[in-house]
Amino acid sequence: MSDATSGAHVAHHFDNAEQQFSSAKLGLWLFLVTEVLLFGGLFVAYIMFRALYPDMFAEAHHHLNKVMGGINTVVLICSSLSMAMAVHFVRDNDRVKAVKLLSFTFLCGATFMVIKFFEYKEKFAHHLFPNGSFDYSAFTHKNANLFYSLYFIMTGLHGLHVLIGMGLIAWVLIRTRRNNFSSEYYTPVELTGLYWHLVDLVWIYLFPLMYLIA
């Protein structure tokens, strides 16, 4: 119990490991609240502009690739499952399975980013990135760049979260391999899992709002 017990150290201001664990979790939930409000600001902008220009949104979204968006949705759902399973096996002291599942989750995140990269690349190639060379002629609504501003900032911020999530997964993956965790102490895995599920949760809303308008 050399490594595992060292991680289970209970700080002096906690009664026991369980209280320490639930406090850490509460702290992460509070962080997730700020995440919801961070994305919330963008969702509010989306809602207002869509309410103001419903026809423009319907027209502009046709240039997004439903299939790629759909595949990415499935990829993230699968990664959420493997993440939840990984937490289960870490808690069950099954290191081998946990490492496999964490690796799978990491690969799902990478797959998501690769697909996203090809989507972005296509948008840039068609001058749909809202900078000076935005191709207004592709649309009858002259403010279609607004939709693409929202698309890039919202999926971009989400993509950044995926990258950070992948970093966290890589970190707990290495620590799991080093046998740092056990049923006694697995807080970092649990918290990384919560963060990863939130990333999935945001995408669950982004997908229909961006790709499936009409």
């Binding site: 409000l37 289960h88 069950d92 949760l201």
Partner: protein, 352 residues
Amino acid sequence: MSSNKKHDHRKTYWKVWASLIVLTIVTVWTSYYDFGTLNIVVAMLIATTKATLVALFFMHLLYDSKVDTVVFASSLVFLAIFVGLTASDMLDRYVPQPVKVAASGDNDMGDVAKLAKPSPELIAQGKTLYATNCASCHGDSGMGNGPAAAAFNPKPRNFTTGEWKQGGKPTQIFQTLTTGFNSMPSFAALPAEERWALVHYIRTFSPNRPEDSAADITALAAKSGSGAAHIPVRLAMELSAVSEAQPTYDIRKSAIDATSEGGQLYQTRCASCHGDNGQGGINVRVLGSHPFSYLATQSFAGNHAAWTTNMQEFVRINSLGLPGFGKPAINDLTPAQWQSLYNYVQQLAGIR
């Protein structure tokens, strides 16, 4: 920690995963059908179901301390407040009369010779510009009685008299607009075509409209250094917009009856500032002004703006008041009382 048995949710995880996949397929599938406004409702219901599954099972909210759930739910409450307050502002803003871009194939409006001639497009454009640039002093109907007129001596020009101090030819008015005159500032900051639009709109107020000679136009064109000023096509398209038809209203006139319900309401609620017969000219202190400044109320006569021709607008303005201008909000009238007050004010304005 406690036994791992009660933490074994693997079967549940698989079921949740299967549900999420099915719901994803359903949401993609439904996107190919058109339910009208229900599209977004269906999509958001499915997304919320998926999000709930993720939060309850993958994120363990169902099994964990209820405190976590309350904390997370609080973010949704604040998000709802965020959306609600923003929507109540954004979606309830006053939207000006819809304008349609005039379908003019000719975008070359840059030469003075052409802009010096009035056209319906220019006049309509001038009307819009007039409301934002001129009406505060010259009044909505060009009578020189705008809200800020009280502060000026000499008073702003009343265009309806037909008198011009700086000349009433289009080129002369254009010059006045460009250079300014007395208290009137120069409007040279406006693009030339906007000044021309104003020229033609202002002339519609006047019974006296002297025309330019060819020499006048040539002289001005020579003065500006170029006979053909360039206007961005997009700007011209945007600005040469024609207002949609004004709402028609009943123009039968009836005797002004001060004993009617509307008349009674007017006498108790409005007359102290707007005058017994809506003649205006009564000074009202601008709230919060130090030293005190006063705005004279306007005459209703001939004032056929939206608030006298559209009851909804009338009720809106009067029930909100004009904050900062000393016009209080009236919010205790019944619909019938509003109607009779509106009728009475229309009579005073000479519409009904």
